[in-house]
C-alpha cells in the first residue's frame, strides 16, 4: 500500500486538476498525459530492461497511423480505430524486436534508428495514402466513442487521464511482478540472468513488445484526441523526446516519465515565447543530464529520500 499510495495520489491530483485548471493549462496537461504514457512505454524498455532504443517514433507513428488510416480510409469510429492502432503497434514492435534484438549496445541503437527512419520515409513515400508530410486532419465522426465527443476539451482531458491511468497501473504492476524483476536483472547483468536460468531473449522480446504497444496506444490516442495525423510524429525527434523525458524524470522509476514530460513540456513551452529555436533547450538538457544527473529527478529522490520507490 505504501508503494501504491503516491501513484494513486497522482491520479487523484490529476482528476481534481480537471475541475480547477484554466483552459490553456488544462489542454496542455491532456497532451502531457498522453506523451507521458508514450514515455512510460519507453521506460519499460530503456529504464527497466536497459535497452536504449532510438526508434520509438516508429511505434508511436504505427499507433497513430494505424488508428488514423482506419478512420480516414475505412470510416471506422474512434473505438475500433484505437484498437487497430494498438494492434499495428504490437505487430510492428514484435517484428522489429525479432530483428533488432539480435544486436546489442550501440548496434541496437543504430538498428532501431535506421528502421524508424525507414518507417518515416515510407510514410512520406506513400503520400497518396498517408498525406505525406502534410498529414491529414481526422473527421469529426472518427473522434466519437460511445456517444462521447473526444474533440471536446473536457472529454479529451478525461480520456487522456484514462490512458495515463491504465499505463501507470500497468507499469507499476509489471515492474513488481517476477517478470519485471527479471528485466531488471537482465539490465544489470545479462550473463548472470542467463546463468540463473532465465531466457534473456524471451524477456527482452516481451519487454520490447509491451513497450512498443504502449507507445502505439499513446500514438493512437494522440491522433484521435487532437485530431491530426502527420509524418512529423514519425521523425527522429519523436524518438529522442521519450528518451529525454525518461532521462529527465528518472530512468527505471514508474513516476519518472510523467515528471520528466511535465518539466520538459513546460520548459519548451515557455522557451518558445523567447525563441523559435526551442529544441536548443532539449539539447542543453540532454547534455546536462548525461553529464551531471544521469539518475534524473525521481532517481535522485530514490537515492536520497526513499530507497524503495518503484
Amino acid at each position: 500500500m505504501r508503494v501504491v499510495a503516491p501513484h494513486l495520489g497522482l491520479l487523484a491530483l490529476l482528476l481534481s486538476l480537471h475541475f480547477v485548471l484554466p483552459a490553456y493549462h488544462h489542454g496542455n496537461l491532456a497532451r502531457v498525459m498522453v506523451l507521458a504514457s508514450f514515455a512510460m512505454g519507453y521506460n519499460i524498455l530503456f529504464g527497466y530492461t536497459g535497452l536504449l532504443s532510438l526508434g520509438h517514433a516508429l511505434f508511436f507513428a504505427a499507433g497513430m497511423y494505424g488508428a488514423g488510416l482506419a478512420v480516414q480510409h475505412l470510416g471506422w469510429g474512434a473505438g475500433p480505430s484505437l484498437v487497430a492502432g494498438i494492434a499495428a503497434g504490437a505487430v510492428v514492435s514484435a517484428t522489429l524486436a525479432l530483428l533488432a534484438l539480435r544486436t546489442s549496445g550501440v548496434a541496437f541503437m543504430i538498428v532501431t534508428l535506421m528502421f524508424a527512419q525507414a518507417g518515416a520515409l515510407t510514410i512520406l513515400h506513400f503520400s497518396e495514402i498517408t498525406g505525406g508530410d502534410e498529414g491529414f486532419v481526422l473527421p469529426q465522426a472518427g473522434r466519437m466513442v460511445a456517444g462521447l465527443d473526444l474533440s471536446d476539451a473536457n472529454t479529451r482531458y478525461l480520456a487522456a487521464l484514462v490512458l495515463f491511468a491504465v499505463c501507470l497501473s500497468l507499469s507499476l504492476w509489471l515492474v513488481r511482478t517476477p517478470f519485471g524483476r527479471v528485466l531488471v536483472a537482465i539490465r544489470e547483468n545479462e550473463e548472470r540472468a542467463r546463468m540463473l536460468g532465465y531466457d534473456p531473449f524471451a524477456h527482452k522480446f516481451a519487454a520490447m513488445v509491451i513497450s512498443g504497444t504502449m507507445a502505439a496506444a499513446a500514438g493512437a490516442t494522440y491522433g484521435v484526441l487532437f485530431g491530426y495525423v502527420g509524418s512529423s510524429f514519425a521523425e527522429v525527434q519523436y524518438s529522442i523526446l521519450p528518451l529525454l523525458y525518461v532521462l529527465l524524470g528518472g530512468t527505471g522509476t514508474v513516476l519518472g516519465p510523467f515528471v520528466g514530460t511535465l518539466f520538459m513540456f513546460y520548459l519548451i513551452d515557455l522557451s518558445s515565447d523567447i525563441t523559435t529555436a526551442h529544441m536548443l533547450i532539449a539539447g542543453v538538457a540532454l547534455v546536462g543530464l548525461t553529464l551531471f544527473a544521469p539518475q534524473g529527478i525521481m532517481g535522485e529522490i530514490r537515492r536520497r529520500l526513499w530507497k524503495g520507490l518503484p
Binding site: 530483428l99 544486436t103 543504430i110 525507414a118 538538457a285 547534455v287 553529464l291
Partner: protein
C-alpha cells in the same frame, strides 16, 4: 536525351556526391574507429562548415576565389577547434562510455543546429564558386558518316564539380598518408588497437582523442565547404549527410577506412543513378533498410573482417 548520355550525367553527379560523402564518412569512421564514439552530431559539423564558409566569404569579400580559399582553410579549423572543446568538456567527462556519449552527441546535435538557427537564421544562402565554367561533354554516336562525337544538349558539368572530386581524392590521400606514414598516425593507430596498452606506453590518450574528434569534425566541415557552392548553406542541411555517412560507415565496416571509401563511392554513385530512375525517397528507404539488415545479419560490414 538517350539513355547513355543520361547515365554519364548521373555518374558525374553521383561522383560529386560520393566525393563529399567519402570525406564526411571518413571523419565519422575515424572517430568511431579510434574513440569508439558514435557521433550523432557529425552532420552538424558538416552544416557548420557550410555556414561558416558563407560567413567567411562574406567577411573577406573581393573576388569569389579569395573568400572561398579563406573558407576552405578557416571553416575546418574553427569547426575542429569547436569539436575539440566539446570533446574535452563533454565526452571526456563521460569517460567515452558508448551509450552515454550517444545521448550527449544527440544533445550536441540540437545545440549546434538550433544555435545556427538563432544566429544564422532559417534562410538558405549561397556561396559563389571560385571558378565555375560550364563544360559540355561529348558522346560518341554512330551516324551516316560512321562513329563521330556529338555534344548532346544538357550533357555537361562544371569545372567546379570536377574540382570537388579532385580535391576529395587529394584530401583522402593526405588522410591516408597521415594515418599510415606519420608518427601522429602511428599513435592514433596504437590508441585504436589498445587504449590501455597505449596509455601504458606513455601515449597521451586524452589528447589523441581530442585531436581525433577535431580531425573527424574538420573533415566533415571541409566537405561542407566544398559542397556549399553547389548546394546552399542551410541550418538543417546536416541530416542527410549524417544518414548517408552512417550508411557508408556501416556498410564499409565500422572503423575501416578503405572500406569506408569504397562504400562511399558505391553509395554515392548508386544514389545518383538510382535517383535518376526511381524516386529519391524510395532510394533512401532501401538504403536505410539495407543498413539495418547489414547490422543485424553481418555486423562486421560487407567488407570488414571482424565484428566491432
Amino acid at each position: 536525351m538517350e539513355l547513355g548520355p543520361y547515365l554519364l550525367l548521373a555518374t558525374i553527379e553521383g561522383a560529386v556526391t560520393a566525393a563529399v560523402l567519402a570525406l564526411t564518412a571518413v571523419g565519422l569512421s575515424l572517430v568511431f574507429g579510434v574513440m569508439r564514439v558514435v557521433n550523432i552530431a557529425h552532420g552538424e559539423f558538416f552544416m557548420l562548415g557550410a555556414v561558416l564558409a558563407w560567413w567567411i566569404a562574406q567577411l573577406v569579400g573581393g573576388h569569389a576565389a579569395w573568400g572561398f580559399a579563406a573558407a576552405l582553410i578557416g571553416a575546418p579549423l574553427i569547426v575542429g577547434a569547436l569539436a575539440m572543446a566539446a570533446d574535452v568538456t563533454i565526452l571526456k567527462r563521460l569517460s567515452y562510455d558508448p551509450e552515454r556519449t550517444i545521448v550527449a552527441t544527440i544533445g550536441l546535435l540540437y545545440i549546434i543546429q538550433q544555435s545556427a538557427l538563432m544566429i544564422y537564421g532559417p534562410d538558405a544562402r549561397p556561396v559563389e564558386a571560385p571558378f565555375n565554367t560550364g563544360i559540355a561533354l561529348p558522346w560518341p554516336e554512330y551516324g551516316p558518316d560512321g562513329w563521330q562525337m556529338i555534344w548532346p544538349w544538357g550533357l555537361g558539368t562544371t569545372s567546379y564539380k570536377l574540382a570537388v572530386i579532385g580535391a576529395a581524392v587529394l584530401i583522402l590521400c593526405a588522410v591516408w598518408a597521415v594515418m599510415a606514414r606519420t608518427r601522429f598516425g602511428l599513435i592514433m593507430r596504437a590508441t585504436q588497437a589498445d587504449r590501455e596498452m597505449a596509455t601504458a606506453f606513455g601515449i597521451p590518450v586524452t589528447r589523441v582523442y581530442a585531436a581525433t574528434f577535431g580531425l573527424g569534425a574538420g573533415l566533415a566541415a571541409l566537405a561542407g565547404v566544398l559542397i556549399v557552392p553547389i548546394q546552399q548553406a542551410h541550418y538543417l542541411m546536416g541530416a542527410d549527410p549524417l544518414l548517408l555517412s552512417f550508411i557508408v560507415v556501416i556498410i564499409g565496416g565500422l572503423g575501416s577506412l578503405p572500406g569506408t571509401v569504397v562504400a562511399a563511392v558505391l553509395i554515392g554513385l548508386s544514389d545518383g543513378i538510382i535517383s535518376v530512375f526511381f524516386s529519391p525517397t524510395l532510394a533512401k528507404i532501401l538504403a536505410t533498410l539495407l543498413v539495418a539488415l547489414v547490422l543485424v545479419f553481418r555486423p562486421q560490414g560487407l567488407f570488414g573482417k571482424h565484428a566491432p
